[in-house]
Amino acid sequence: MSAPDELFCWEGDWGLPSVDTDCLIVLAYAKFAGAPLKVQKISNPWRSPSGSLPALRTSKGEVLSRPSDIIIHLRKQKYNADYDLSAREGADTLAFSSLLEEKLLPALIHTFWMDSKNYVELTRRWYAEHMPFPLSLFVPGRLQAGQQARLRLSRSDHALDAGEELEKELYGDAVECMNLLSQRLGSSKFFFGDSPSSLDAVVFGHLAPLLGAKLPSERLQRQLRSLDNLTHFCANVLLLYFPSDGRENASRKASSQAEGGDVDHEPNKRRKQILSGLVAVGAMLAYALFTGILSIQHVHQRALESSPDLPADEEDEDED
């Protein structure tokens, strides 16, 4: 336990510590259990030791990438958020986690990755803007293909191109699932009493991105917002366990918006004008050099070199 474990996850935005469900689950669980992780927030999956995010590099050099494996690893290190739960509550945790995975996750994948409006305007844009240049061209598409495969195979009985019907069914399941969760939570602060457990982390991980993201097509989001206790639950977790992220992101967003507003005004515009002017001048010069000026000089020099019988002239040239 000399070096702390290192956790790699997606960067945060929208007032969340991370934008990815799995990363949020792990981050929340680590906070709940008080595990001292060295968190690396990155936006380049190739920099992760496993090639995907989240990933945990343990002090022994092992790399874990599935959230359940990471949670089990933390539990083995005595960072257990479920310590106070009865066996019956542990069973409920497992059951409700399955419910989320089977009923809510497909609709979330659909909302963020399949819904063309959301994908183009929000998801792909976010990932592309946060990745370094060559990766931003193809990694978002690859991520989408992965999610699409997952959705299609977990619903093998339906063709994905059944569009409307599939959407209705997924969203119907998801709304039912959110209602069930809301009923289970009732008016308590967390799912099992006053302290958070792994189920709280799982629910938070699934719901928080849906609440935080500014989705252009917000069908599912509207449904969730109408369930007050779940909305409060997410806000509460953010406030209690990720106070800095919320503020940091909010301020960063405010500043970036202010900058964004300035784009049409002086400094950036002037810089762009100068840059494009330079590029144009450079291009014209190069063209001129390659076609005209350079060849003329060559001809001129060659003409001079091929006339050795005029030494006086040559000397003149040298002197010049």
């Binding site: 409920d92 019907e165 969760l181 009923q183």
Partner: protein, 259 residues
Amino acid sequence: MSLAAEAFVSQIAAAEPWPENATLYQPLKDDQILLSDCASSLAVQTYLRMCGLPVQVACKANAEYMSPSGKVPFVHVGNQVVSELGPIVQFTKAKGHSLSDGLDDVQRAEMKAYMELVHNMLLTAELYVQWCDDSTAAEISRPRYSSPYSWPLNHILAYQKQWDVRRKMKAIGWGGKTMEQVYEDVSQCCQALSQRLGTQPYFFNKHPTELDALVFGHLFTILTTQLTSSELAERVKRCSNLLAFCKHIELTYFKDKST
């Protein structure tokens, strides 16, 4: 089944009572059916028996291709064909037969959650053992699955099925699991069910629900099916109250049939 069709079905269903000649279709019982299909089929049969709805079981070699969703079992009731437990439960509910009416909101949420737990862990583990364990796939799953077909179709269909299941496992993150991890998941799931059941006769006290039917269908099939390794059944047997639960349901609902 689409929502529009579902609404239509439930409208018609409400008007007609449950007929005497309802039929449940499943693959051939002796030569063809696999653990996971057998479990799902038994769950539906148990559910219908709990509701007191008569159904005849028909074994067809091509049941999988007859089913509207591509999954077995499915029931043929009057003019309708409905597949899988979830839609069948909704269908019977529309006809006025329901086992979960007596539950409050929190209990209903728990019931749904535990049903998803069975789907998510037990069913997936059954599929994993059947198709991703090489010896089970070679000795049991592929020969049985393709038994009604002649060469070369039998090999094509069996490998196609195996490939589909393996791709699905990879997509849901089970691709990298070892058999030991899968058995560990089964243990975990059984322990959770065992904890939830406690000493009650059914999961929600005195009255059976669709959760009881589903759990019975899977556990009973795992306990009574011979595989290359008995590890799966051993894991279930560690929870004694689940064994008692299976025996109890078998005696209550299948007394006439069990020989």
